[in-house]
């Protein structure tokens, strides 16, 4: 007759599982905390780098060695088991400019990087003021509705895309010099003081974005200098990002990241063919419109393929 296992056998089962628990728990815990095996079974303390690439099919290199590629299901990659040191992360995708950043890795800590990918060849489309309207018998120049709609974005009253002058009485906590033009996204404020752009954090200390804490993670700065250039004009956040700026400087439209760890990636997106100062507006998540005098040009931020 079959009977339940004897109490001795059950006790042995129990002891086996207890021993398994006791022996596995320290290894799993140490591994979770960033410890790893070194040569001669020595235990090493490691750190990591968290890379969030906003697209799939992005290759992530660590010191020029391919570590991983993002997929539809996973846009983030955690590079693990890195000994404390400086590492250069390079992010590439066909049709886009490479993005690079050198970050220090500390024991048991994870450094964050948020690459941005700009198409290597920006597709530009001229938006004429007038277009030909053709019917069966005649052809005539008429006002281009698209031009009419886009030009209204540049009217000073168009909010919130246009930097405005801050009303001291309503937002006195922004900064001491709160009459300066500013933009704000998710409590990150960027204000222009002459030829300088400053970033300020308006949220709680615990939520401070990493790029305010570059010099010392435990004591993050409330504000820092992002960018300086002569004749800074319009500036705005890059679509869907509050760590990247679009800045018009004279005849150039430049992408500037707030993360100042070297190199601070600054990419010229567009240069006026006439050499005159340009203005711009963000139309949607994938499109900008640049104004040079009366000329309007649309820029696509999406890779258009071969």
């Amino acid at each position: 007759m079959m009977t339940p296992h004897s109490s001795r056998t059950r006790f042995l089962y129990f002891i086996f599982f207890v021993l398994l628990f006791i022996s596995a728990a320290p290894f799993i815990l140490l591994y979770s905390m960033g410890y790893n095996w070194g040569k001669n079974f020595s235990i090493l303390k490691t750190g990591g780098i968290y890379v969030y690439a906003p697209q799939n099919g992005v290759d992530v290199y660590v010191d020029n060695k391919l570590d991983n590629t993002t997929s539809i299901f996973q846009h983030s990659i955690l590079v693990k088991d890195l000994r404390p040191n400086q590492y250069t992360i390079r992010v590439t995708k066909t049709g886009y400019l490479d993005w690079k950043k050198t970050v220090p890795v500390k024991e048991e800590k994870v450094a964050e990087v948020y690459p941005f990918l700009i198409p290597a060849n920006i597709v530009t489309t001229n938006v004429p003021q007038q277009i030909h309207s053709t019917n069966s018998t005649t052809s005539a120049l008429v006002v281009n509705t698209e031009y009419k709609n886009l030009i209204t974005l540049f009217a000073t009253s168009s909010k919130p895309k246009v930097p405005t002058t801050l009303n001291v009485s309503t937002s006195s906590n922004i900064s001491a010099s709160s009459t300066l033009p500013f933009i704000e996204s998710k409590k990150v404020v960027v204000e222009k003081d002459g030829n300088i752009l400053h970033a300020l954090w308006q949220g709680g200390v615990e939520d401070t974005p990493f790029y305010f804490c570059i010099s010392d993670a435990s004591t993050c700065a409330k504000d820092f200098l992002v960018y300086s250039a002569p004749s800074i004009g319009t500036f705005d956040f890059y679509p869907n990002r509050n760590d990247i700026l679009l800045v018009a400087t004279g005849p150039k439209l430049t992408v500037v990241e707030l993360d100042k760890r070297p190199p601070q990636n600054i990419v010229e997106l567009y240069t006026s063919s006439t050499g005159e100062s340009l203005d711009f507006r963000v139309v949607d998540n994938e499109t900008l419109v640049v104004k040079e005098g009366k000329k309007l040009t649309k820029l696509s931020l999406v890779y258009a393929g071969q």
């Binding site: 007759m1 009977t3 296992h5 129990f14 979770s32 490691t46 615990e206 993670a217 993050c220």
Partner: protein
């Protein structure tokens, strides 16, 4: 109650709740012990949240260690489940007549108590019909139909019809109608079957000079369908038990009566209950009577029958006997099934509500915790090491039910969410979700085995169901993370919180509803 078992005379022996105690110090102590399960469960949940906020590293370490504990516990229980599955397969195929041949069992009577309230005649009839077809001398069967006066004419009409149809098939067919509102009683199964057993003693056993020691009482639910060899198997285990009169006998509850008609969530909850009981069957030192169970009548008489002042009479009868015999009392696992109804109501939503209420009633078994701990303090005849071991097993059981799914499914992510900036920059913070996820995937892979075991116990599929339903019987186990949370942890916490607050639950009768296929 017996003079030979002195503890049965103790004022604490049949205590139902704190307010029934005379001495204030006893009342306070018992009241505190009623709070213990909720204190442990809520303490763990709130403690984890506080820890995740103030010391997220410690919380993350706790969660990873806990996940590992849960994985190994799942593997450990699966091992027992496998052993019991093998034993059950063996016991359902063995020739019990051959097994019983060398034993003298002709004098053994089986008293089967079938309590009912408002269930339809069809439900009652199916259960009696199954007993009429068992492979045992029907002359030795005492079928007791136990109705409730509170149900009005319904009880008498059902009893009358059943007596007409089945009265002559058995050695004895006895009907008892439990009067409403007897002093000191709570309406429910306990008071009904106790009344029925006492009445049967007077009107059947004593009248026919049937020796109490020769009678095995099976306290069934009205939907408990006995398989043909069940009473042969029970008899064999009784006659071969080391201490037959100091043992209860526990079958495996399957929920096959209406399984094909019940929705997937109901099947998974029912199946999970079966697996838990199967794993417990392989650990007789931890096994406690549950739902349908059997006990010798002499023992039952000596310990004063089932308690009539509380809800969980099925498990309490074991603890009563355990206290009465100074811990020298056991549960013999039969590794043989009986079949009951899975939850099924007229609508899906009502079925879910019924599942929740049934699970909460079962989780209300935590009312045994104050009883056990209080009587451990008062009963000096129980060895200290047993008291410590049982206290741990019982507390861990109710704590696990109410907290483990919450710790695994919700709190595993909490340090990452509320742990703050410094914690979120650590390797531990980034690894916590990965490690938790991987350990849980490993644990869930054990579900494949559960699905297989469940499959082997499936009754024949009614013809009007397609093959898709059969295949879904396998994949339904993906609902387990949902069911252990909604129909495990939440009703567990609900019941413990009510006990903590002194909002005592009454007996909720699970409505019996069957689809066309199983009526």
């Amino acid at each position: 109650m017996s003079q030979n078992l002195p503890y049965t005379q103790s004022p604490y022996f049949h205590i139902g709740r704190a307010s029934e105690l005379e001495k204030k110090s006893d009342r306070l102590l018992y009241r505190f012990l009623e709070m213990v399960p909720a204190l442990l469960s809520w303490g763990t949940i709130l403690g984890s949240i506080i820890l995740a906020y103030f010391v997220p590293v410690a919380a993350a370490i706790f969660i990873i260690v806990f996940d590992l504990y849960w994985l190994l516990k799942t593997a450990y229980l699966s091992l027992h489940l496998y052993n019991n599955w093998k034993r059950t397969r063996h016991n359902t195929s063995v020739d019990w007549h051959v097994m019983l041949e060398p034993l003298k069992y002709e004098d053994i009577y089986h008293m089967v108590i079938l309590p009912f309230y408002s269930e339809s005649y069809e439900v009652v009839s199916k259960t009696i019909e199954a007993i009429s077809k068992v492979d045992y001398d029907l002359k030795k069967m005492i079928v007791v139909l136990a109705g409730e006066a509170k149900a009005g004419d319904h009880a008498e009409l059902v009893a009358e019809r059943a007596t007409k149809e089945y009265g002559n098939l058995f050695g004895h067919f006895f009907v008892s109608i439990h009067p409403a509102g007897l002093p000191g009683e709570m309406p429910g199964k306990g008071s009904n079957i106790t009344y029925a057993a006492q009445q049967t003693r007077i009107h059947v056993l004593d009248k026919n000079s049937i020796e109490y020691k020769n009678v095995l009482v099976s306290a069934f639910d009205i939907d408990t369908v006995a398989y043909p060899k069940y009473f042969l198997c029970l008899t064999w285990y009784f006659l071969t038990a080391e201490k037959p009169y100091q043992s209860s006998y526990q079958p495996i509850p399957l929920y096959n009566n209406n399984l094909w008609d019940a929705p997937a969530l109901s099947r998974v909850v029912a199946g999970s209950g079966t697996f838990w009981q199967m794993a417990q069957q392989e650990r007789p030192d931890k096994l406690v009577t549950f739902s349908s169970h059997s006990i010798n009548f002499d023992t039952l008489h000596k310990i004063g029958y089932w308690q009539t002042n509380m809800v969980s009479e099925d498990s309490r009868i074991f603890w009563n006997a355990f206290m009465a015999y100074g811990s020298d009392y056991y549960v013999v696992p039969l590794a043989y099934p009986v079949s009951m109804d899975a939850n099924l109501a007229s609508s899906f939503w009502q079925t879910l509500k019924n599942i929740y209420k049934q699970q909460r009633r079962w989780a209300w078994g935590s009312e045994n915790v104050p009883y056990i701990l209080f009587n451990f303090i008062k009963n000096k005849s129980i060895p200290l090491n047993k008291k410590i071991r049982i206290t741990f097993v019982q507390l861990e059981g109710y704590w696990s039910l109410a907290t483990n799914p919450i710790l695994i499914l919700l709190l595993g992510w909490l340090p990452v969410i509320i742990g703050g900036r410094n914690f979120n920059q650590t390797v531990l913070s980034y690894n916590l979700p990965y490690i938790t996820q991987n350990l849980m995937i490993l644990a869930m892979s054990g579900l494949m085995f559960s699905a297989f075991v469940f499959w082997t116990f499936l009754p024949e599929m009614p013809q009007h169901y397609g093959r898709g339903r059969k295949i879904f019987m396998f994949f339904q186990w993906l609902f387990v993370p949902v069911t252990i949370f909604i129909f495990g942890a939440i009703p567990g916490l609900d019941a413990q919180t009510r006990l903590f607050l002194g909002k005592y639950m009454g007996f909720w009768v699970t409505p019996k509803h069957r689809g066309k296929a199983t009526q």
